[in-house]
């Protein structure tokens, strides 16, 4: 009974905060509601016994992705009230696109049937382990690193390519930037940097 209560609590807050993400006037508030939504999703994962996924969700999405979101959104200097003014004007076309997407989804999912043989085969391949005898992390690791190791490595490569691409696109070489080269600073010797000059009185250094 407590489980059911907690489930409805998490789900209700999750749905409400998800609505607030698109309804909030202030974009920073939107990101904060998004974080709340992530949290409640993690809570739902814990209720299902998927503790590893819950923690990864919090670490990756809340701890890293949403921080960068918040970082960018906070520094934007846009008049958001002015952006909202076009809402009525763009409503028809937005509603049209939304309706088309909804219809497509309904068509695709509504007629989706899976052959019983394929379903049985899928169950054979990825048998759900009993959470009481084997921990989440172990079960995930066994599947990920034995059955799907090449796919896993390939996804890592895709991410690496994306990262290199982002760096190449944004890297710019600027002229005249002073940089600190620590090796040069440390490797400097006394002879190169100090000259001891005997200055005769009343003559100064020429």
């Amino acid at each position: 009974m407590i489980q059911a209560l907690v489930f409805y609590l998490f789900s209700a807050v999750l749905v409400a905060s998800a609505v607030m993400v698109i309804a909030a006037r202030n974009p920073v508030h939107s990101v904060l509601f998004l974080i709340l939504a992530f949290f409640n999703a993690a809570g739902l994962f814990v209720l299902m016994g998927a503790e590893f996924l819950a923690m990864i969700l919090v670490i990756v999405y809340v701890g890293a992705v949403a921080v960068l979101f918040l970082f960018v959104v906070m520094m934007l200097d846009i008049n958001f009230l002015a952006m909202r003014e076009g809402f009525i004007r763009y409503l028809p076309i937005g509603a049209l696109v939304g309706l088309i997407l909804l219809a497509e989804l309904a068509l695709a999912v509504g007629v989706w049937t899976v052959a019983p043989a394929a379903l049985e085969a899928a169950r054979q391949v990825a048998a759900t382990p009993d959470p009481n005898t084997i921990s989440n992390t172990l079960a995930l690791g066994r599947i990920l690193y034995t059955d799907y190791v090449y796919v896993f490595q390939a996804s890592g490569l895709v991410l690496l390519v994306a990262m290199i691409g982002a760096i190449v696109l944004t890297l710019r070489e600027r002229e005249g930037v002073r940089r600190q080269v620590i090796a040069r600073q440390v490797g400097r010797r006394r002879e190169e940097s100090i000259a001891v000059v005997k200055v005769p009185p009343r003559q100064g250094v020429s």
Binding site: L32, M55, S135
Partner: protein
């Protein structure tokens, strides 16, 4: 009756257990502030606070009462809800993490299988309190402090993550009690000494302590992200920061210094109970925190970023690969289940 025995009674017991953890932590926080002033005073040949109570032992309570009776000021341009929520979040996060810390064999509130991930998740959330405070204050200094802090904490979390993975490789479990028990006979701070150092320095950066206290930077940003805070909301930030220090020391003890285990498993050392050893190890780590503060000047911001991304990250990555290679080569890989 079922309602009482199944729901209310466990709830009451859990609340009492939580109090049994939180109250000592809060007292520890209060005395950590006094210890900091005393230790720094001793290192700078001063006396430190000594007037309130014997040896100044009541000073933390005097400070707390003073802060509580001050006026709470909310700036007119501030975003009120976020402004008030930020210190509460910081304070809460510094206490919530204690749920999974094992104090002795079996003496832990929630003995979850993913304990170390939980700690990592909670410590990665600490940045939100600071960002929210900086943004909601609607002030330039606070905002600069928040931006610095966000960049700094995200950078150093990466190397903390690699250090944790190295420890996990040697343990073969994400449960914190298992991590401590795996250190029987040999604490991880010896075989993984470089990672121990990296973890401690990253911990300094993660808790915004000197020499990485740029988010506060009182000589340039006034007080950084909490310039606009006063009274109890300031006190919550303060408590949260010191609570995080204690937490980071507890994490260091669990991961590298053998948690509640005595240094040698023989007579004079086993007389002290486990929690006392654990507290002693935490106190030793905290002393180093204070020592560093009294000794080191503040880092420049680009040096801080360079240290995080160009020194710690590659080094911890290489050490992780080396550890994994050594474990496989010598057949030391821990077998579980």
């Amino acid at each position: 009756m079922n309602f009482w025995t199944n729901i209310v009674w466990p709830l009451v017991i859990t609340v009492l257990l939580i109090l049994a953890i939180v109250v000592p932590v809060l007292i520890g926080v209060a005395y950590l502030t006094l210890a900091e002033r005393k230790v720094m005073a001793a290192m700078q040949l001063r006396v430190g606070p000594n007037l309130v109570g014997p040896f100044g032992l009541l000073q933390p309570f005097a400070d707390a009462v003073k802060l509580m009776f001050k006026e709470t000021v909310i700036p007119s341009g501030a975003n009120r809800v976020v402004f008030v929520a930020a210190p509460m979040l910081t304070f809460m996060l510094s206490l919530v993490a204690w749920a999974v810390i094992p104090f002795d064999a079996g003496l832990v509130l929630a003995d979850i299988n993913v304990g170390i991930l939980y700690l990592f998740a909670i410590s990665s959330l600490g940045v939100y309190g600071i960002i929210m405070a900086g943004w909601a204050s609607n002030s330039k200094y606070a905002f600069l402090g928040a931006l610095r802090s966000a960049a700094q904490m995200v950078s150093y979390e990466v190397s903390i993550g690699f250090v944790m993975i190295t420890v996990l490789l040697c343990v073969g479990s994400l449960n914190l009690s298992d991590i401590v028990l795996a250190q029987q006979g040999l604490w991880f701070c010896l075989p993984l000494f470089p990672m121990f150092i990296i973890f401690f320095i990253s911990g300094l950066a993660e808790t915004n302590r000197t020499p990485f206290d740029l988010p506060e930077g009182e000589s340039e940003l006034v007080a950084g992200f909490f310039v606009e805070y006063s009274s109890i909301s300031f006190a919550l930030f303060f408590l949260g920061e010191y609570g995080n220090m204690i937490l980071m020391s507890a994490m260091t003890s669990v991961l590298f210094l053998g948690g509640w285990l005595p240094p040698f498993d023989m007579a004079p050392f086993t007389w002290l109970p486990g929690p006392v050893w654990f507290a002693l190890k935490i106190a030793a780590c905290l002393f180093v925190f204070l020592w560093v503060r009294a000794t080191m000047p503040r880092y420049r911001y680009d040096q801080l970023m360079r240290l995080g991304w160009k020194v710690f990250l590659p080094f911890s990555l290489i050490w992780l690969v080396l550890t994994a290679g050594a474990l496989v080569a010598f057949g030391w890989v821990p077998r579980t289940a």
